[in-house]
Amino acid sequence: MNIFERLQMLDRRWIFLVVAVAIIVPLIIPFNSKTYTTEPTEKLYRIIDSFAPGPDEKPIEKDRALLLVFTHDASTMPELFPMEIAILRHCFARNIKVFTLTFLPSAAPIMDYAINTVKEEFPHVKSGEHYVNFGYKIGALMLPIILGMGEDISEAVDIDAEGRKLSSLPIMKNIKNYNEMNLIMDFSGSSAGGAWIVYARSKFGANVGAGVTAVMAADEYPYLQTGQLTGMLAGLKGAAEYEKLVEVFALKKREFSRELLKDPEYDNAITNPDIPYKFKQARIGMNAQSVAHIMIIVFILIGNIGYFITKYKEKQQG
């Protein structure tokens, strides 16, 4: 039996071991790798960044805001949570007004968790001034709220998760409806954007973006092409790209430029101990993804080489 035949007969458990190592090691021992940012992610970043107040503008005065809608439960958290964290970090770092909302009871704790995780790093950020958590609204209210926000957000949502009347919060100054709350990001493990595209987008012209799991991304591409979706983050990869953009531009309060992205300096973030784990989670995850994908491809190749050699031999023998 030569090595290829042995490889052919290799016990599955060795493969499992390789998989375990290939995924656990990059997660525990991070290493640097390059993150390529792609067009849809960059576009989304730039739209959100355009909501930031100017250098001599008070954050409260800014008449732009972003709505994050959490439409997923814990099972898709590995992919979607890093995105949410990255966007919230962007908003808090650049004083962008941000709202959060969910129609799914199981998403409410995830929403709280995301806000609080990012807030820890930004002591100046205050609820009601920089962000408002609209909280969980029952599914039956979904349509009335989506449509109602086209006229008046304070009236449609009424009270936030902390039980405060929205109209009494300083953040709502200058924010009336979709004209101001100009982008809705829907994070979902199934059909992202759905009702928002149909109602908020086509009736009120609101921009709708989606954060989806990698599996979903293919189904969402047509919407991206027709412009019904303004931007999309797909899976861990989209999250990793956004993480990088936030780090290169938002945290340093810089304008977006493609040139800066090419600087290899920014690819050393993963091993940088100053950056908390939660803000590079997606990039570390992508390391594991990359290793895993390559590993699987190598498995396919080795498997096939062994297969062909064995077949060739059989032919010769017989």
Partner: protein, 208 residues
């Protein structure tokens, strides 16, 4: 009586529901609401079947002392304890019932699901063989799409790999999904029709 009446129920209701699809009138929606109310009233009893089946299977295993019968005790105890916890302390957040759900059921479900990562790898190694031209095509498409999703792929083959991935997803993949879906759609119509006409009676089981 044993077979013909249930069959008559299915056929009658079936045709009424065909009508329901075409008739938007209030009478038709009232009929649907009536039906749903009845179905809902029947629904809780179906669960009893599952519970009875579990109790019967596992107690039989214990009785006959089949190999691994001891574990059936775990199942029965776990089942009765969880149910008891739900009834005794309620099902809200913070009760032992929710604790069991969050710390026993959820992590095990998630882990079972995560096993897929291992199996995908072993399937790639063991079963993904270029046995024929078709198998080779499948394999190549998979490799390209996999590469297109990670930064390594881009640094190895350039941005073009993304475009190829999108093309594969938007053209051959779209055609394949559409073609299969059309076939499946027709098949569903045919099977539903067979049930409606009483040709297909599998659901009634065998016997008289």
């Amino acid at each position: 009586m044993k077979r013909s009446i249930p069959l008559a129920i299915v056929i009658t209701l079936g045709f009424l529901f065909v009508g329901y699809v075409f008739i938007p009138h209030k009478i038709s929606t009232d009929f649907y609401e009536w039906y749903m109310e009845w179905i809902k009233a029947m629904s809780p009893f179906g669960v009893v079947l599952g519970i009875m089946s579990i109790v019967m299977t596992h107690s039989a295993r214990i009785q006959h002392k089949v190999p691994n019968w001891q574990y059936s005790i775990v199942t029965l105890i776990a089942m009765f304890f969880t149910a008891y916890a739900g009834f005794a302390w309620g099902t809200q957040e913070g009760t032992p019932f929710m604790w069991l759900f969050k710390n026993v059921q959820m992590p095990m479900g998630a882990t079972m699901f995560a096993l897929l990562a291992f199996y995908i790898a072993s399937a790639s190694y063991k079963a993904f063989r270029a046995r024929s031209a078709e198998a080779t095509v499948l394999l190549l498409a998979a490799i390209i799409v996999m590469l297109g999703q990670v930064p390594v792929g881009v640094s190895m083959f350039g941005e073009g790999i993304n475009d190829i991935t999108h093309w594969i997803l938007n053209v051959p993949n779209l055609a394949s999904k559409r073609g299969i879906a059309l076939g499946v759609g027709l098949g569903m119509v045919a099977t539903s029709l067979r049930i409606l006409l009483g040709i297909e009676r599998t659901y009634l089981g065998g016997g008289e």
